[in-house]
Amino acid sequence: MFVQVNDVWKKYPGKWALQGVTFDVSKGKVLGVLGENGAGKSTLFRIIASVTRPSKGNIMVDGIPVGLETRKIVAFLPEINPFYGWMKVMEQFEFLAAFYEGWDMDKTRELLKFMDLPDNDKIGTLSRGQQAKLKMVFAFSWPAKLVLMDEPLGGIDPPARKKIINTFFHEFRFGEQTIIMSTHMVSEVEEFVEDVFYLKKGKIVLSGEADRLREEKGTSLVGIFEEIAG
């Protein structure tokens, strides 16, 4: 198993954000983490990205407990724009390139061009959609083995969304890269995710292969989700 999350708990002051989350992802899979806002998705992502520590439980990525070593192979795309607003687009990527092994600057330029992103503008002046595109450039400019996308399509206008989806199909290193993406809008990821689980109040309430769930329940993931949420 490429990613192993074993009985992870996370407590914030006065509130449990995650309550015993356990799941596995095998290499090359695209896993969808579904759930409403505040279900604990972002917390889970931060823990897998080794940005924050769990209160209890352990996580392995590629057989290594999360930490410095796994940060070398994990691209973490948080929900919000994590880049320096005062940096120019290219400056930001040059900065990041210094930290990641195998960063391909030509690829970065190619992706920026494909996404119609200005490379000489300050990141702070870009629109939300453009900032979301930047995250994709970051994810696919270097050979990250695990890409964590927290709400990659949240609040983005349709043309930008289309570009992001196309990039995803174009750049996803089939068989080598594992992707975990989260969303509260299930319809956004319906066609991409192979395995899904639903997170509700910090617990996994349903999990399985997307196509198998459709077969069993005779409805779409959206339908299943609505049933659980309701």
């Binding site: 914030y12 002051p13 931060r46 990205a49 080794s50 940005v51 924050t52 520590r53 410095l68 940060r71 070398k72 994990v74 973490f76 948080p78 919000i80 724009n81 994590p82 880049f83 320096y84 607003g85 005062w86 940096m87 900065f95 990041l96 210094a98 930290f99 990641y100």
Partner: protein, 228 residues
């Protein structure tokens, strides 16, 4: 490391306006506030004490400029920094390295200036007691605030040792409050004019409370950190 350094140079470039503003404020204060008491005997302050005092400024600056004015938290760039494949310690060191360097330079510089002012006052018998002002400002504004914030910064960066850091902070504050008592006593002894500062002999406790306030602030910031 080199890239981190570059990043933080840029980071600090952005807050140079704030730095400049504080400097101007500092100068204005010095220019307009006049301490007319000429029997202050400031020259009896030992040299090492001056250095020690200015060191408070040294510690305060990285905290103020690095922690409080820093917008990593505000703009979520911490996610980026924290997910970088580098040791947290290295990132924080890189982040504050420049600040500490700047402050060391400032500290040495201001110590030299203080010494110079003292010499000037002693020889020329001038009316404005620059050195006293510098010391008072350092004391009231930077000293406690600085050490508290610095400890808070350590607490934030090394989560595992935050209890230890908290204890160190507490002890520091206790010692400080005691030292303050000493200092105020000493100032009373040498009839330093506290009129402008409106502080009485036993009001060092207020300073202690201010210190506590910053401990709480530190914890608040820490909690914000732990949520990411």
């Amino acid at each position: 490391m080199k890239t981190l350094f570059v990043l933080f140079i840029n980071d600090y470039k952005r807050i140079r306006v704030a730095l400049l503003f504080l400097l101007i404020l500092y100068l204005i204060t010095i220019l307009f506030l006049k301490f007319g008491n000429r029997q202050l005997m400031m020259n009896s302050i030992p040299g090492f004490f001056v250095v020690f005092m200015t060191f408070g400024t040294t510690l305060a600056a990285p905290a103020i400029f690095g922690l409080l004015l820093n917008d990593d938290l505000k703009y979520n760039t911490v996610y980026l920094l924290f997910s970088l494949p580098k040791k947290r310690f290295m990132i924080f060191f890189g982040k504050y390295f420049l600040a500490i360097t700047i402050c060391l330079v400032t500290s040495i510089g201001s110590s030299m200036c203080m010494k110079l002012f003292q010499e000037m006052e002693y020889h020329n018998d001038i009316l404005v007691d620059y050195s006293q002002l510098v010391i008072l400002t350092s004391m009231y504004v930077f000293w406690i605030l600085g050490i508290t914030c610095f400890t808070a910064a350590i607490m934030l960066s090394i989560k595992r040792y935050r209890q230890v850091a908290g204890l160190v902070l507490f002890v520091t504050l206790m010692v400080l409050s005691y030292k303050f008592h000493d200092m105020v006593e000493w100032m009373i002894k040498y009839k330093i004019d506290f009129l402008r500062w409106n502080i009485r002999y036993d009001e060092y406790r207020v300073m202690f409370l201010i210190g506590l306030f910053f401990v709480v602030l530190g914890h608040y910031i820490y909690n914000k950190f732990s949520e990411i």
